[in-house]
Structure formats: C-alpha cells, structure tokens
C-alpha cells in the first residue's frame, strides 16, 4: 500500500487542458436549444458502438480515459446502455451484419439522440474498406449524424473536440 500511495503522489496530476469545440466538424447545424445545452452542460453520457471498426478508433476512445485526457473530469462518461445515453459514438464502416444492432441501439436511445461518427471509415464512403456486400459505408447511411470526426484513427484530442462540439452553442 505504501508503494501504491507513493506512486500516486509521485505521478501527480497529469490532466491537460481540453480542446475548444470546432464548428467545422458539424454535419448538420446545432439542433439543440440553449436551454437543452445548459441542461446537458457538462453531464453528457455516451454509448460507444463499434459498427465495423478495425479496433483502431477504439484504442483512441480508450485513451480518453487516461490521466492526460481525463474525459470524466469534464462530466462526460460512458454508459453500458443506449437507454442511458445522450450521445452515440459510432465507429465504422457500418458492417452489413451490424446494421440491425446499430438501428436498435439508435431506437433505444432517448431524445435528443445525438450521434457522432468516428474515423475516416465512419465519416466517408470512400474509406479503405469501401462499400460492398459486407459494408454499407459511412454511419450517416444508416442513422442521422450530428458531428463527424475523421482520422485513422482520430487522436484523443480530435475525439474530445468533436464530442465537445456537439454540446456547444453556436
């Protein structure tokens, strides 16, 4: 226990400043009103859905929980159920075999059903995987998308920026 406490003390606080929102990441204009944004404020719940990713984007989503990015300190946390979520964070491309699951998760999510598409394959049809018998391309082909965060994979800072953009006013 002594070593553990010492390690915590020696490590100190590593958390860095969060990035500013970026309006360029929006796919559709802000559909939340000020009252709603104030309510969501800094208490956003995210449900992550891998709809066909190579697992690269998931690695960076994991990194959001490390002490440098410390997403939870901003009041943003991940939920195990779409029923508790304000926002779906979807990585793609959307595999044909995941379409039903993705649609069901979207239906189970309460309003305002915010959706962020993650990664080059989640944002574009012309990704490395393309469209085929097995993949139906970008996330917005299946469910409406508010913000798209490109990158292969997008960095944790880019992910934070995209998520913060969804809940920022104009």
């Amino acid at each position: 226990m002594h070593q553990l406490l010492k390690q915590i003390f020696v490590t100190g606080n590593k958390t860095e400043a969060a990035p500013e929102p970026d309006e360029n990441l929006r796919v559709i204009s802000q559909r939340l009103e000020k009252a709603m944004l104030d309510t969501l404020g800094r208490a956003l719940v995210i449900r992550h859905i891998d709809a066909g990713s190579c697992n690269g984007c998931e690695l960076e989503i994991h990194a959001l929980g490390n002490p440098y990015y410390n997403l939870e300190a901003l009041g943003i946390r991940f939920s195990a159920s779409p029923r508790h979520a304000d926002l779906l964070l979807v990585t793609g491309p959307v595999a044909q075999n995941m379409v039903v699951a993705l649609q069901r998760a979207y239906e189970a999510t309460p309003e305002p059903k915010l959706v962020v598409a993650v990664g080059d394959c989640g944002c574009h049809d012309e990704s490395v995987f393309g469209k085929s018998y097995a993949t139906c391309g970008r996330v917005s082909n299946i469910i409406p998308v508010d913000v798209a965060i490109p990158g292969c994979p997008p960095t944790p800072l880019a992910l934070m920026q995209g998520i913060l953009t969804v809940i920022s006013g104009k």
């Binding site: 070593q3 992550h48 891998d50 490390n66 440098y68 595999a95 039903v100 097995a134």
Partner: protein, 524 residues
C-alpha cells in the same frame, strides 16, 4: 524435401521464411495433418481459392485443375508446411479437419461462407454469413464482383441449448457494455456458475479479402494494416514480407531493423494497455490510470518520431516509410529507461496486491493440454506452456541476430497471462535497446519490382497477440489475385469457450481481457 517422414515432395516457398509447399491428395492431407498433431505441431490457417478461370490445357501446375483449391498451413518444428489440395468445380468438398484439429471448425465454416467449398461431414452452420447475403452467394468466387448489396435481416442462429433444473441463459451483445468490438456471447448458467459459453462472431465482417483483390499489389499493405488496428505493424509487415518474397525484393538492412523496432513498440504499447485494463477489470483503477499514462507516453513518442501513434502505414513494400534520427534514437533509449523503471514499480504493486492476485490466480485456466489440442499460439499459448514464438523459431532478419527470449508460464490462468505480459515488456525493452545499438545505416526503402502473374508467397510475423499470417498471390499486371489474412485469435476464441466453464459470470470480463483477442481480425 521431405517433412515429418511423409511421402510428400515439398518445394521451398520464396523468401526468407522456413516455409515449404506440397500439392497433395485427400489421403495425403489427412495423413500429414495427423502426423503434425502427433509430433506436437499445430494448425495455423486454412483457406481456399477459386481457380476455375484457369485454362486447363496450358496449366502444368497440378494445384490448379480448374476447380477450387484448399490451402492448409501447419506450424511444425522445421517451419511452416503448406498443403494444397485441388477440389473439383462441380463438388468442391474436402475432408473435415476438425476431427484432428478442432479449431478448423470455424475456419471451414468461414471458407464455405466466402467461397462455397465444404468440409464433408463438418459443422454446416454459417460463420461469417449472417442473414445479410443469400446462402448461394459466395463473395470470393471470381465471377462475383462483391459490390452487390442485399436486404438486411435479423438472424436466428442455432445456439446449442443447455437444459436442466435452474439453467438459464444470458445473452450478451453484439454491442458490449464497454468500448470494445462486437460479438454475441450466449452463456448458459446455473446461479453464478457458467456451464457453457457459445460465441457468435462475424458481426464486423468487412469483406477485406474481396476488397484486397481489387487493389494493386503495391497498395494492399494499407488495408492489410487495418485487419486488426491494434496489430497494424504485424499485419503490414506480414503483407509486405509476402509481397517482397513473391517479387524477389530484399528491403535494405536498415529497413528490416526499423521494422523490428516498430513491431516491438507495438507489442509494448498493447501490453501496457492490457496491464492497465486487467487492473481495472479487477477493480484496481489505480492500475488503469498508471498503465494508460505510460501507454500514452509511449504512443506520443511513436507519433512524434514515426508520424503515427499506432504506427499505421509505416511499413511499406520494399522497406519502411520512416527513418530514425540519432536524436530520435536517444529519445527512445531514454523512454525505455523511464518505462522500465515505472513498470518495475507497478509490477511490484500488482504482485503484492492481495485483492488483485485473488482475482487473477486460478481464474480462467487454459491447461497446456487444451492449449495444444486447440493449436493455441502467441501470448495466450506461451502462458500455457506452448513455447511458440516466430522471433526465435522462424527468425527472419533482424531477429536472426537478436536472440529473443521466449517468455512462458505454466499455469495458464489470468495471472499467467499477466506475468507473460510483464516479462515480455521487459524483453521487448531489451530488444529495442539491442536494435538501436546494432541498427545499420543506409537507405530505408527500395522499389518493389513487378511480380510474375501467379507468384505466391507467405508472410508470417509474431505480432503482440501471436503469429499473423498473410498468404498472397499476384495477379496479372501488378494486381492481387488472392490474399488471405489470418489472425491468431481464430484458435484462441474457441479456447475461451472452454476456459470459462466452471468460472463465475463476473469473472468473464477479466478472463476475456486477459486474452484480449481480436474480433475484427477473425471477422475480416
């Protein structure tokens, strides 16, 4: 040449790997498979190809009799033995190998779904095909262009049910509670105890092998490097090794040393992350914070020096797309010292933490016998006394000059897989220092010469999870005719179904994480 005293004439495959190929008939395939099993070898992969477009009259290669072919790769002490069996166009069937190697089951089912070649008497259930393309649509056939899209359905899959007093089922997925990949787990349980687990996979099938056939040989490395994002270096190297071997290209020595540096950096990055998540899954959030901090430091330096945090697209046909300056080398040396110091401290804390050890010890035990039976290799195999490691057993440059120590444990439980990760971090740190010290100067990339139509080679690389295999055949005018990518997880997922039996449901996430298998890599 002869292997395992079988009356087969093996020809060496091109390239630096110890790998041979023989064209066989059904009886010879079965006899060889049995000999592999008896001598402690294992099944690596199994795939097929459509050769119906070849002109029989002008074709002297017996493996192509204008039907389909089955390829089966085995790991034996001499190296890799590849057996090729010709199948007829009208009735493409082959003997069920799952009788000898149980983990052939899923590979055979996937091959039927993609190509329509069937194991006689094998499990007839689909694997990669859910209800989203018709049963008579075989995407890897050459007369199918693969761009068709079909109506989406929700599949009713025939899970095996367990009956008895108090038995009930827990259905999990495809979307899981954490930020992980999709798969459906069907648990049959009594109280807290797991009686049976059945996995339904294939959810993130992306048609990668069909897509590869539409790419130039020189460009396929990018897609191969995204079969499983956490193993991008291993896949890209395996792909490039195959592409270089079949076109007679030898990358410059410095490029090979840089590739090994990248591969060991990928191994350490993943091990650091897993050690953090394993602490977290046993309710020690301290471990998660500490190891994820170290992983972030590691990734940031990778991004700074090589242009990508996970090293995607750094390995290219003919060499590497990056170089390392003397200053960069100094930074890596310094980082290795810092990480080693901290991991030693954290290893001590994990070791002495009674609550953590209570969760780790005897949990999710994979016995050496079962690991051997299921052809389990890689990290999971080494934690169950299966000393497979290509870095020593089929060492290509620069590993032939590095003397890698194979890390093994005997207990096969979560604790053993944690211990292997700790020791492999230290061993990889040692290797990185050796690489930086011995790496020659010179150029980093040469052009990839044109490959002959039909040229074939194998790439086989020890990734952090286990051995990644890429089998590549060139087509006409610089195209890919066929490319098969194999993840070691194919053999370890079935092992997970066994080791969970008798454990309690709350230990499943911990056990699953201790293997940390790829979903995307097997769904391809």
């Amino acid at each position: 040449m002869k292997l395992l005293d079988q009356a087969l004439d093996f020809e060496p495959l091109p390239g630096p790997l110890k790998a041979w190929r023989a064209v066989v008939n059904e009886g010879q395939l079965l006899a060889f498979a049995k000999a592999v099993k008896q001598t402690g070898g294992r099944l690596v992969s199994l795939w097929g190809s459509d050769e119906r477009d070849h002109n029989c009259d002008h074709n002297r290669d017996h493996s192509r009799q204008c039907g389909f072919t089955l390829h089966v790769a085995f790991a034996i002490s001499e190296g890799l033995a590849l057996l090729t069996l010709a199948l007829s166009a009208e009735n493409p069937a082959y003997p069920d190998l799952a009788e000898i190697f149980p983990t052939a089951n899923r590979l055979q089912r996937a091959n039927f779904d993609l190509l329509g070649i069937r194991a006689t008497g094998g499990d007839p259930r689909p694997w990669l095909r859910h209800a989203n393309w018709p049963a008579n649509f075989f995407p890897l056939r050459r007369d199918v262009d693969g761009s068709q899209q079909f109506e989406i359905h929700n599949e009713e899959y025939a899970f095996v049910t367990v009956e008895g007093e108090g038995v009930h089922e827990i259905a999990v997925g495809p979307i899981h509670a954490g930020a992980i990949e999709p798969c459906h787990f069907r648990f049959s349980i009594v109280g807290e105890k797991v009686l049976r687990l059945e996995q339904r996979m294939g959810w993130v099938h992306k048609g990668i092998e069909k897509r590869l056939e539409q790419l130039p040989l020189a460009a396929g490395y990018k897609l191969a490097g995204r079969v499983s994002g956490d193993s991008t270096v291993a896949y890209a190297w395996a792909y490039c090794l195959a592409a270089e071997s079949l076109s007679g290209c030898t990358p410059p020595p410095r490029a090979l040393w840089l590739r090994a540096l990248l591969l060991e950096r990928e191994r350490i990055a993943n091990h650091l992350g897993d050690l953090g998540f394993l602490g977290n899954d046993a309710a020690l959030a301290f471990g998660f914070s500490q190891f994820l901090r170290l992983k972030e430091d590691w990734l940031r330096l990778s991004g700074e020096l090589f242009g990508h945090r996970y090293l995607m697209d750094c390995i290219v046909p003919g060499g590497v797309a990056c170089d390392l300056s003397a200053d960069g080398s100094t930074q890596i040396f310094r980082q290795c010292d810092a990480i080693e110091r901290e991991v030693h401290i954290l290893a001590g804390i994990y070791e002495e933490h009674a609550g953590l050890q209570d969760r780790f010890l005897t949990t999710g035990q994979l016995t050496p016998e079962l690991a051997a039976e299921l052809s389990v290799s890689g990290l999971a195999g080494r934690a169950s006394s299966q000393p497979w490691d290509l870095r020593t057993q089929n060492a290509i440059a620069p590993y032939d000059q590095l003397d890698t120590r194979i890390i093994t444990q005997r207990n096969g439980d979560v604790a053993a897989r944690v211990a292997v990760r700790f020791d492999e971090v230290f061993e990889s740190l040692r290797l990185i220092r050796c690489i930086l010290t011995q790496m020659p100067q010179g150029e980093c990339r040469v052009p990839l010469p044109p490959a002959a139509d039909g040229a074939f080679a194998i790439g086989w690389i020890e990734g952090w999870r286990g051995d990644v295999l890429v089998a590549l055949e060139a087509g006409a005018q610089g195209a890919i005719r066929r490319c098969h990518c194999h993840d070691p997880s194919w053999h370890i997922w079935p092992a997970l179904e066994h080791v969970i039996m008798g454990n309690i449901v709350p230990d499943f996430p911990l056990i699953n994480k201790s293997f940390n298998l790829s979903y995307s890599g097997v769904d391809i």
